[in-house]
Amino acid sequence: MKNRIYSRLLKDHMASHILNLFAFLIVLFFFLILVMLITKSVPVIRKNSIAELIFSSKWDTDAKQFGFFPAIIGTLEVTLLSMLFAIPVSMLTAIYISEYASSSIKTSISAFIDVLSGIPSVVFGLCALLYLVPAVSMVMKKIFSIQTTGMCVITASLTLSVMTLPVIISLIVESLQLVPKELREVSLSLGATKWQSVKKILFRAAGPGIISAILLGFGRAFGETMAVAMIIGSKNKIPVSVFSAGETLPSLIVNSFGEMMSVPLQQSALIFVALILFIIVMVTNSVAKMINIRLSQKWRY
């Protein structure tokens, strides 16, 4: 009898130690990534200062000049454009699914969207390369008489917004579903229309959830690599308009991979890009968390 208790306690004890170890490994791993990226990007920071790296647009491997300004601008342009399209569409779709649709339509559409949010990005990239790129090129030529190959910033942002839609929609629907039914009923019983109660009540009650969904979609679009690398045209120059080829930070890493091994300083420069990405992810995450806490205090019901 006593033995059994001992063995149970021993098991519990061991589990405690092992779990502690796992948790410690995560922390270790996180800092390992950070330290590795920093130490590996030290050579290029020594050569060119950080400000020079970020704000110069010269990219010359032979002269050992690495400026990321074009890629940064490209990233901003692509991400913001895609969000400009994705946010209104996804919000309206999510409200329709959650508030207006009948339950059979609701289950079928949301099951479909669930399946879609798992489709790999290369598939999106391939389809965009096949049809969207020629289509954009043709439309631009016929209607606006602008010469473009179709591999340009606008194509990349359209593809990205289609990719992020399922993710954002399913998260917004989830947070709308968490709002208690009574809030809706009270608002409707006071004579508000459905849209008024959505606008005045639900947006506030589900606000923090909606905002974190949007930020998550933003992160998805921002870090997306392969699809963008396939269709953006990969020119390391500041895009003149949305119809010219550009480069984003992640696609810069992938596209320069071939030369990466041979030139140590370029390798270091590209690792510096990864470091920038990582830091931006950390900052956006903290901002999202802060906004979330603030808003859920302000809009408490």
């Binding site: 779990l19 399946v115 290369v122 990239g125 391939l126 392969m226 890493i253 956006t284």
Partner: protein, 281 residues
């Protein structure tokens, strides 16, 4: 006035639902027609390894990439889910303090949002440090890193949703923390399995994490330290090829990926129903 607004908004909503669904249906349609067509024309690309001059439109198929994907994704998912479930239990405060768990959650959130290419670069840095070339093992590791935060998040959510009474009851019966955790895992199993399958899907479809780390194998992966390749990687590499036959293989590969995703989804739903037997309504 407000009824006019209501009508207008409703119209906009239906419009945006269509706007969402059309491109997605189109993408599936394109992939099925193009990829399925390529497969029907030349079904043996599924089981053939590339011959000489494969990338120049020569003989062969992408069997090596299929096997490479499986060899990488399956071990990675198994390792990642072990880690993830352990971490999720740790986060339930039976074993940890609230503050420590809070910090770990923040770190996990950051890792969750990290673009997969960073994991690729991280493993590449380690490879350079060890003076190794890309190999299957490195691919497994980078996929593990990629899948781990995803699975942890779902497992954590699933275990958090276990009713409080279960925990209180088991403790009051004199169970140890470990025994309580096992019961909680069993209760949360549907959610955990769904999370694992989502992680599996993410690993299967991700090219950015493995493109640097596995090297460019043009043959069947021979061992852990030999180079391999994965399905999304060959789609990326072959999509821009000048040769029609090579491009067709990219379509076929993406068709295969989509089919695999549907299978994963069906399995996930099946498991969800099956393991719900531990959950009392």
């Amino acid at each position: 006035m407000k009824y006019l607004e209501e009508k207008l908004v409703k119209f906009l909503m239906v419009f945006s639902v269509l706007l969402t669904l059309t491109p997605l249906i189109l993408i599936i349609g394109i992939t099925v027609v193009k990829g399925g067509g390529a497969l029907i024309n030349n079904p043996e690309i599924l089981i053939k390894v590339p011959g000489p001059k494969y990338l120049l439109g020569g003989e062969g198929g992408f069997f090596h990439a299929i096997m490479g994907s499986f060899y990488m994704v399956l071990p990675a998912t198994i390792i990642a889910s072990l880690f993830a479930v352990a971490t999720a239990i740790f986060l339930q405060l039976d074993y940890s303090s609230r503050i420590y768990a809070g910090y770990i959650r923040i770190i996990l959130d950051i890792l969750w949002g990290t673009p997969s290419i960073i994991y690729g670069v991280f493993i590449l840095v380690i490879l350079i440090f060890l003076q190794q070339r890309g190999c299957l093992l490195a691919g497994i590791f980078s996929l593990t890193l990629l899948e781990f935060p995803i699975i942890t998040r779902y497992a954590d959510e699933a275990i958090s949703c276990v009713p409080k009474e279960i925990r209180e009851n088991t403790y009051s019966m004199g169970a140890t923390r470990w025994e309580t955790s096992v019961i909680k895992i069993r209760y949360a199993l549907p959610g955990i399995i769904a999370g694992i399958l989502i992680g599996l899907g993410r690993g299967l479809g991700d090219a950015a994490a493995v493109i640097f780390t596995t090297g460019t194998g043009n043959s069947l992966p021979g061992g852990l330290l030999q180079s391999a390749t994965a399905l999304p990687v060959i789609i990326y590499q072959q999509a821009n090829s000048f040769y029609v036959s090579v491009r067709d293989q990219a379509y076929a590969a993406s068709f295969l990926l989509i089919v695999l995703f549907f299978i994963i989804n069906v399995i996930s739903r099946h498991f969800y129903a099956k393991f719900s037997k531990y959950v009392k309504g």
